[in-house]
């Protein structure tokens, strides 16, 4: 039945049709399909047409190292300190942040866990008031802080083990360093 009903083209027409099809496919692939689907753009035409946008991964808006924050009293800075907490002892490490000052921190304890109290004390307060942001026993912690008041902010760490624990603390933000208090 249908087997013989297909019109048979001349060899010349066949070659023209096949070559034409291949050329059209190659051009469409390299200039349109591959740029749009895979962001592969050998000719640059896909990019010029805006097609590569379709496949660009949502690039996380790069967070600039230097964050411009209005009204910060202190300069932006970043620090890394190593603090040793002797066996059975406690100590404090403090930074001074102005009201609504912002910083990011992360610390890890090298060889043991520590009891900690992350807190702030308002400047000029004489009642001994302080506000704790976190109380825990941990080997590491990271986060950020935007302070509710002007004052010294930081960590009280207590080493309850019988060997010294080393902390690596990294901070960046708008503060000045007060430092270690035994």
């Amino acid at each position: 039945m249908q087997q013989t009903d297909l019109p048979v083209q001349s060899a010349r027409t066949l070659i023209k049709a096949t070559l034409g099809a291949a050329i059209l496919a190659a051009i469409t692939l390299t200039t349109i399909i591959l740029p749009a689907e895979y962001n592969i753009d050998p000719t640059g035409i896909g990019g010029a047409l805006g097609l590569t946008e379709l496949n660009t991964e949502a690039v996380a808006t790069a967070v600039p190292e230097q964050v411009e924050r209005e009204g910060q009293e202190f300069e932006y800075r970043s620090d890394s300190v190593i603090i040793e907490v002797p066996a059975g002892k406690g100590l404090e490490y403090k930074l001074h942040l102005a009201k609504h000052g912002h910083m990011e921190y992360e610390w890890t304890a090298e060889n043991g866990q520590l009891y900690l109290d992350f807190h702030g004390e308002p400047t000029g307060d004489t009642t001994g008031y302080f506000e704790s942001f976190a109380i825990a026993t941990a080997t590491e912690m990271s986060g950020s802080l935007t302070t509710p008041f002007d004052g010294s902010h930081g960590w009280y760490w207590k080493n309850q083990s019988d060997q010294a624990v080393t902390i690596t603390l990294k901070t960046k933000g708008f503060y000045s360093v007060i430092g270690l208090k035994q």
Binding site: L6, A11, L14, G20, A21, T28, I33, Y38
Partner: protein, 210 residues
């Protein structure tokens, strides 16, 4: 996730992964939608029916295609056979190139005889079915009610194919009334081949970079 020739959209994916038990109508719908929006299957069907003038022939050829892809769809999902989606979709692209070239009388000219067109449609039907199975397997849907759901999906595929075919046939039959049909038949089948080649290139690139 790279775009497959006819991936299953996110809402459907959520449904499939959350589904428990037998859900005939949703699976029927997904199968139908998959076929109606699956342009690679549709291009192949255009190639198959391009020179079929009688409804009876259309029915016979489409039945061969249906038989082929139903077999591998059921076999693939039930046996948990995983075939690389890019390779299967590249072969589906190749089936379009084959049919376009065949419609130009290319094989008859080159080989001196016409390879059995029904067998070709059946064989490519088998590959299309593996493609469907692979798409369905990309989702971890429940084993509960699996057979009934695959059968519903397959029935949906046929329903969608029937719907799509009805439109393609209407358009082609209308076009056949004009001289331009034969005048442009060579160009149309060359375009069909080109479309198939684009699918092959698209899928093989995905295979190597994806």
């Amino acid at each position: 996730m790279p775009l497959f020739a006819h991936g299953i959209d996110d809402a459907t994916k959520v449904f499939l992964e959350g589904n428990e038990g037998v859900s005939i109508i949703p699976f029927l719908y997904i199968g139908a939608k998959h076929m109606v929006t699956g342009y690679d299957h549709l291009l192949f069907l255009v190639g198959v029916i391009f020179f079929l003038y009688r409804s009876k022939d259309v029915l016979i050829y489409v039945s061969f295609f249906t038989l082929g892809h139903s077999l591998t769809l059921l076999f693939g999902v039930l046996n948990d056979t995983h075939v690389n989606a890019y390779l299967i979709d590249a072969i589906i692209g190749l089936s379009i190139v084959y049919k376009g070239f065949d419609n130009l009388g290319g094989f008859k000219r080159m080989l001196g005889y016409q390879p059995n067109t029904k067998a070709a449609v059946l064989i490519f039907g088998l590959f299309h079915g593996f493609g469907l199975a692979t798409k369905l397997q990309e989702f971890e849907f429940s084993q509960d009610g699996l057979v009934a759901n695959i059968l519903a999906f397959n029935a949906g595929v046929e329903l969608g194919q029937f719907l799509a075919l009805a439109f393609i046939l209407l358009a082609i039959n209308y076009w056949r009334r004009f001289d331009s049909f034969l005048r442009f038949s060579t160009a149309t089948n060359a375009l069909l081949m080109s479309g198939g080649m684009m699918l092959v290139g698209f899928q093989m690139t995905g295979y190597f970079v994806g």
